[in-house]
């Protein structure tokens, strides 16, 4: 067979061994979500493409896949925004400056930056889904002249669950990007929109035949948003989603992240909607 059964090479990196990182700082975004700034301890920096993720290991607790949410222009630090939803993410959210973690990666496919050049870009995010698209937004804004109309539609459960609020305000003050925010429910002190993300789409500027859509959020939100974009004339090949599945290895060995024939870890997490649209309609695949 063609597989490499030759003697193990001493140059072959151990796919499962993390690199040590130091927690430089942490900041609570919401009641259950924390943004951590991490620094590699081996002095080698950290390079990634927007949309990629790492495997983040906490001493003795475990390892989870987390999308990178920092600026791809900065190799000195690695930024993750993590919501406490299980044992490992709860431990991550309890970390403080000076703590150490392990990092493997980055892994997976990235958002379609080259494809988006010269086109209108619609970024749609739901909840914690804003974190994986933040590096994309930063890339779009840093190279603003390379793209057409750029917009973000963002929905969260309540005003208190909104991420990166200061950044949203500063982006909103720009004249070259459209930022629309909605929440599922709110008190009387909220004067913004209440409703689903798709209800914001009629308000934003894009030329359907010349648009790239970047969608990240709960699976149902991504599906509904993608279908709505298609109804508005955007092709399924121009809509990109970031899928999430259980993941143990991130290199195609553990089998956990399969979605039909795709391994989310290496064929994704970012997929063109065209490629996975049929399977997203099969329950519990």
């Amino acid at each position: 067979m063609t597989a490499n059964t030759a003697a193990p090479s001493s140059l072959q990196p151990d796919a499962m061994l993390p690199r040590p990182f130091r927690v430089a700082s942490t900041a609570a975004d919401t009641v259950d979500t924390v943004t951590l700034i991490l620094e590699p301890e081996d002095g080698e920096g950290f390079h990634f493409a927007p949309g990629q993720f790492t495997m983040l290991y906490v001493f003795g607790v475990g390892e989870v896949p987390i999308s990178v949410s920092g600026d791809p222009g900065t190799a000195e630090t690695l930024v993750h925004t993590v919501r406490a939803v299980g044992a490992v993410t709860e431990a991550i959210c309890r970390l403080t400056a000076g703590d150490r973690v392990g990092i493997r990666g980055p892994y997976g496919t990235g958002w379609p930056i080259r494809e988006a050049e010269g086109k209108d870009v619609v970024v749609a995010a739901g909840g914690i889904g804003l974190a994986p698209v933040r590096p994309m937004l930063l890339t779009l804004l840093a190279g603003r002249h390379r793209f057409g109309a750029v917009s973000l539609v963002y929905g969260s459960r309540t005003p208190g669950d909104l991420l990166y609020v200061d950044e949203l305000h500063s982006w909103r003050s720009r004249f070259d990007v459209e930022i629309e925010v909605t929440v599922d429910r709110a008190g009387s002190d909220w004067l913004g929109d209440v409703g689903v993300v798709t209800s914001l789409l009629p308000r934003i500027p894009f030329r359907p035949e010349n648009t790239i859509a970047v969608v990240c959020g709960p699976e149902i939100m991504m599906r509904v948003t993608a279908d709505e974009m298609i109804l508005r004339g955007v092709s399924a090949a121009s809509i990109y989603l970031s899928m999430e599945r259980n993941m143990k290895c991130a290199v195609g060995f553990c089998g956990h992240c399969q979605f039909g024939p795709e391994f989310i870890c290496r064929d994704g997490p970012v997929f063109a909607y065209e490629r996975i649209r049929g399977r997203m309609r099969v329950p519990s695949l």
């Binding site: 067979m1 040590p20 259980n246 143990k248 195609g252 099969v282 519990s284």
Partner: protein, 372 residues
């Protein structure tokens, strides 16, 4: 490549030669009323004179009326557990003054000789080679165990009641991936082994074996043995167009029906020689100074296998059986260029309720296009 005929009384020379080269010899042996793979020191440790009677959910050893060394099919063990052990320590993390040091666990460098590897098992090893060595990242544990294996294949002289290698195109003749292959011949008061080499290592070893050169009659005997076994297959998989068949029938009512019988016990995935899924486990020393990360076999039949944020994607047995079977027989082609099934029949024999993967495929094929 050359061939030789060894008398039964000379087969010990094979063990001596392998031991002399420092191989740890593993092969079939009888333990707890089953034929398992374990360390063996010589031919006397083989299941001499035993055969197995296999059917859905049933495995029994039975005495043969001769003293054949390889007169049985495959049991619940596969070579997977030598190359991809059920539990492997990956690394240790030493914590001091808040710093972490990641220390990869040394992989033992053992030179294995596998004795009695069947054609379906050679096919299974070739499949796991593609998973762990040939599709991007390289698995250190697998590669270390794998690269020096001396593979002694056996052309099956009997087929088991759940065997279907013929329909999967993987056997019963060993065609690739062995260093030596032997065919046991018991006829006309003769008890001999036809040995054929399949690699330079095998050729070297064969040259040092006693015995006479194999002639046309001996090769005919091998052909007849393999043909007889091929005619005895206990099962048949309708494998034609199977990928499209399963992809087109993800909502077929048969999944619901098989789920009523399936216990989601994970036996089929553990005995399967190609199933490769694993999970990780963490432990910490009592003084919190050292953490250990291990990998162990996992199964897509467990509820937490697919859990995201604590909520399983595949919450019902129907979802999980469909995942296992469509992965094995359909999406495997997209992922690794072949079926994930080699027709060994283990999943049928070791299923406690006797669910038969060939029967499930046939049932879907007979009523394809039906929607739940």
């Amino acid at each position: 490549m050359s061939s030789k005929v060894l008398d039964r009384s000379d087969i010990g020379a094979l063990f001596d030669a392998l031991a002399g080269e420092g191989y740890r010899i593993l092969g079939p042996t009888v333990r707890d009323n089953a034929i398992v793979y374990d360390r063996i020191d010589g031919e006397e440790d083989l299941p001499v004179g035993w055969t197995d009677i296999q059917d859905g959910g049933s495995y029994r050893l039975q005495r043969r009326d001769d003293n054949a060394l390889f007169g049985y099919a495959v049991g619940q063990h596969s070579w997977k557990e030598m190359l991809f052990p059920p539990r492997t320590e990956l690394f240790r993390v030493e914590r001091s003054n808040a710093t972490l040091r990641f220390v990869p666990t040394a992989v033992p460098e053992v030179r294995y000789a596998f004795i009695g590897v069947r054609a379906c098992e050679l096919a299974a090893i070739a499949i796991q080679d593609r998973v762990f060595l040939g599709s991007g990242a390289v698995d250190r544990t697998y590669q270390t165990a794998r690269h020096e294996v001396f593979m002694v294949g056996v052309n099956c002289m009997v087929a088991g009641g759940t065997c279907f290698c013929v329909s999967m195109g993987t056997g019963p003749r060993c065609s690739d991936g062995y260093d030596l292959v032997l065919t046991e011949v018991i006829a006309d008061h003769r008890h001999e082994f036809v040995l054929e080499s399949g690699s330079d290592k095998g050729e070297d070893l064969l040259a040092r074996m006693p015995g006479r050169p194999a002639g046309p009659d001996d090769h005919d005997q091998v052909d007849r043995t393999v043909a007889r076994t091929a005619s005895q297959m206990g099962r048949w998989m309708g494998n034609e167009g199977i990928k499209e068949l399963l992809y087109d029938n993800l909502q077929h009512p048969r999944w619901e029906e098989v789920a009523k019988r399936c216990l989601a016990c994970t036996n089929c995935t553990l005995v399967c020689p190609t199933c490769f899924c694993s999970t990780t486990e963490d432990s910490v020393s009592l003084d919190s100074a050292v953490a250990t990360r291990s990998r162990r076999w996992d199964s897509c039949f467990t509820l937490d296998f697919s859990a995201v944020h604590g909520v399983p994607v595949r919450s019902t047995t129907k979802d999980r059986y469909r995942q296992w079977m469509t992965h094995k027989l359909a999406s495997w082609y997209d992922q690794f260029g072949s079926s994930g099934c080699v027709g060994c029949g283990r999943c049928i024999t070791w299923c406690p309720v006797g669910i038969d993967i060939t029967e499930e495929v046939a049932a879907i094929r007979a009523t394809q296009g039906v929607m739940a």
